[in-house]
Amino acid sequence: MTDPKHMVRFENVQKSYDGETLVVKNLNLDIAQGEFLTMLGPSGSGKTTCLMMLAGFEPATHGEIFLNDRPINNVPPHKRGIGMVFQNYALFPHMTVAENLAFPLQVRGMDKDEQKKRVERALSMVELPQFGNRRPAQLSGGQQQRVAVARALVFDPELVLMDEPLGALDKQLREQMQYEIKHIHENLGVTVVYVTHDQTEALTMSDRVAVFNDGIIQQLSPPDVLYETPQNSFVAQFIGENNKLDGQVVEVTDGLCTVKLDDGTVLKADMVNVGGVGERTTISLRPERVELDPAVDMENMVDGTIEESIYLGDHIRVRMNVAGNTGFIAKVRNRGDRRHLVPGDSAKVGWAASDCKALDPVT
């Protein structure tokens, strides 16, 4: 029935805690062997619940979860053989680092020499070979993080779950750890399911990202697709920066639609997720695709007024009033010849029709 390549399969999974509302609504998801899949979403979107169901700490209210084509709803967590890294690392404070790492090997009844070898290997993998005799409390946040990763991997699980593992680290360390985890994933070939609410983290590390909102996967795509072609307004809003323009579809031709904005401006947009003529739509446009005072005419040209400009080094962020939207953002690359962007000046903005997506209306 199922594709043998698929390691994890959620089939019509629902979850409710109180019997009144569904936290996870009808989830269907396949995760391939060796894949790095990130569940991304705001808090309360159901992503952590999905992870807990997969780990076995929460039972599914309805539906079935398969691991290697075996239904695991009734398999207790300790028999699932899934490694897990927790948000606060959950390193056992009364054990040394080495004892922490040996724990999963001990409970599996592995002999002492083999345990020792594996612990050493795991420690050198995360570049902490000298730290075996320390207690977790004696390590820095980043070091604890690595030990937690090493512990989740030391018993060679095929699947590792990570629940916002970098949430407690500062920005610089977080970025460094992102690459380290990514490299470990590549070197070992394990399947990773990663939960985060940080979109940069998701885009940096993942093969595919599942964007969760309101208990539903809004879009499941590789990072670039997610950014370039969001399937709906939520994803467009949630991933990266985004300009919103509300209007009504007046004409549809060859995958392009003509939209009349509420102030009367007419735009052409890529038709992604919108009904027919007469329907409301929200156009999504990335700020970096906007040209300020373009040299040549573009498909969409609108007059605007500069409200504010912020110097950010490599680019200048210009907030404008365009088509009645005072929060319209344009990112202007910082070239030597940049002209002064003075608030109050009027300017033309233009962009290609394929760069703006007509999506479901935001109410």
């Binding site: 780990a55 076995g56 700490f57 207790p76 967590p77 300790h78 028999k79 699932r80 053989g81 899934i82 490694g83 897990m84 927790f86 948000q87 606060n88 959950a90 390193l91 056992f92 404070p93 009364h94 724990f103 999963p104 409970v107 599996r108 512990r151 989740a152 018993f155 779950l161």
Partner: protein
């Protein structure tokens, strides 16, 4: 300049050593802190620490002997029982004076009671002697002195004689006796110059005069009496005492008085551990008198049992409470705390109703035919009763620290253990339990120390086999009035608790104890 800075202490900007500057800066804070706690400190000091200190001091204090019979104690010091079987006449003379004064002040029974702790029968001996010491045949001395010179009959004569220091020096024993007599009379609101001269004073005078070598500088009255005293008819005070009770001829009675003469004694402490400082040194008490070691042992054993059963019952409850949602756990916590809001006496009395042989538990068991009507369980007035009732009463003290520690153990630890392949039991035993140990430590210490000194509950449900050392202490404080022994038992209990605390600190580490 820079050399001095490097070699000497670090200096503040104004040149004073930094340490002193810092101390001065902190002094104000310290004074403030001290002022804030001063009222409580004074209160505790006056109402708690000082009285307890005084009480504990009674465990070694033994001034009653040397205060009640000072002359006897003084003269008895020279008596060597190996040389003479009984103390000589001198001691009996002194004892006569002491006993006469003691019975006047009604102190002889107290002394008898005190010495009775060490030698049974002394109490009644003193009581009997007190009644008859006023009727000794020593009146022959009075008669002979008065016959010699009627002025001896007049108390004014005595007052005048003992105001003169040369007379006082010549008659030391009589002087001391006269002074004590005078002090006593004045204490009673009487004038020694107006009260009849008692026989014991003439007896003392007789003894002094027979010893007096030179009459230089003494009153002619005394000089005349010294001349005559050689021809006086005498009476043996020792025989008088032996007449009252032949026990005064027993060596051990006098030995006990001698042994317990010093103002401080280890007797109470030895008593507390079933030893006795008797006439031939320290000995263990006879089998039927040994109770305290057994009682201490039982107190420890039962406290341990109570602590253990509290842990057994409290751990799952605390575990459940700490893992429930806050709303539910708060509600259940009220049930745990409910006993705190009920009087201890009421709870203990309730257990009396439940546990007695015609009580609720037995009735139910009989009704269920688990127990035969003729063989109802004896659940009260024994150790079982004490352990059941005290476990119930002290359970919250176990649950609360356990709960507060368990509340801080994140559920992710157990989850992590399970995800790493540990079964529920392994995850609990290897990961959860070690982290709850500080709570166990705190709860166990609390319950153990509370139960080791518990009094009311064992008193009410313990019968004879289920009572604690504290009940014995209370008995000595309020019934037998042997405060010294009570103080010694209390001190031992205190030392025991402190020692256990120290051992506990060594093994578990007091830093690991968390109360919340």
């Amino acid at each position: 300049m820079s050399d001095t800075i490097q070699s000497g202490p670090v200096l503040a900007a104004d040149g004073t050593p930094l340490k002193r500057s810092l101390q001065r800066a902190l002094r104000r804070q310290k004074m403030r802190a001290l002022l804030l706690i001063a009222p409580l400190l004074a209160f505790i000091l006056i109402t708690f620490i000082l009285p307890i200190g005084d009480m504990l001091f009674r465990s070694v204090e033994n001034e009653i002997v040397s205060e009640t019979i000072p002359e006897t104690v003084d003269r008895l010091a020279d008596w060597n029982p190996d040389v003479s079987a009984l103390p000589d006449e001198n001691v009996f003379n002194a004892f006569y004076v002491d006993m006469f004064l003691a019975q006047e002040k009604k102190e002889h029974t107290r002394l008898g009671t005190r010495l009775n702790y060490e030698l049974t029968g002394v109490s009644s001996l003193f009581r009997k002697t007190g009644r008859r010491v006023t009727r000794f045949d020593t009146d022959i001395y009075a008669k002979q002195f008065i016959a010699l010179d009627p002025a001896w009959k007049d108390p004014q004569t005595w007052s005048a004689l003992f105001d003169v220091s040369s007379n006082r020096r010549a008659l030391p024993f009589t002087t001391r006796s006269w002074d004590r007599w005078g002090n006593y009379l004045r204490g009673e609101g009487k004038n020694p110059g107006e009260e009849d001269i008692e026989d014991f004073l003439f007896s003392a005078l007789h003894e002094d005069l027979t010893r007096l070598e030179s009459t230089d500088g003494v009153d002619p009255l005394i000089a005349a009496a010294t001349q005559a005293v050689g021809g006086f008819e005498t009476v043996s005070v020792r025989d008088q005492f032996l007449d009252i009770d032949k026990d005064w001829g027993r060596q051990d009675v006098w030995r006990i008085i001698q042994v317990y003469s010093p103002p401080f004694t280890t007797g109470y402490f030895l008593n507390s551990v079933d030893l006795q400082l008797g006439v031939d040194g320290i000995k263990t008490r006879s089998e039927d008198q040994r109770i305290y070691i057994v009682l201490f042992g039982r107190t420890m054993f039962m406290s341990l049992m109570i602590t253990f059963s509290c842990l057994l019952l409290g751990y799952p409850v605390a575990f459940l409470l700490s893992n429930l949602p806050l709303r539910t756990s708060n509600m259940l916590m009220i049930l745990v705390l409910l006993p705190f809001w009920t009087s201890l006496l009421v709870r203990t009395s309730a257990w009396k109703v439940l546990l007695q042989q015609q009580g609720v538990i037995n009735d139910v068991l009989v009704w269920l035919r688990i127990v035969d009507d003729a063989n109802r369980l004896i659940l009260i007035n024994n150790q079982t009763g004490t352990i059941i009732a005290m476990t119930h009463i002290l359970l919250p003290f176990m649950i609360l620290p356990l709960y507060s520690v368990m509340k801080t153990i994140p559920p992710s630890y157990v989850r992590a253990a399970k995800s790493l392949g540990a079964t529920d039991w392994t995850a609990f035993w290897r990961v959860y339990f070690p982290q709850s140990v500080p709570g166990i430590g705190a709860g166990a210490i609390l319950v153990f120390i509370l139960s080791i000194g518990y009094y009311i509950t064992p008193e009410l449900v313990g019968g004879t086999t289920g009572v604690f050392i504290s009940n014995r202490i209370a008995y000595h404080i309020s019934s037998s009035l042997n405060w010294g022994l009570a103080a010694a038992l209390g001190s031992i209990l205190l030392i025991l608790v402190l020692a256990l605390y120290w051992v506990y600190d060594k093994i578990v580490g007091i830093d690991n104890v968390k109360l919340g």
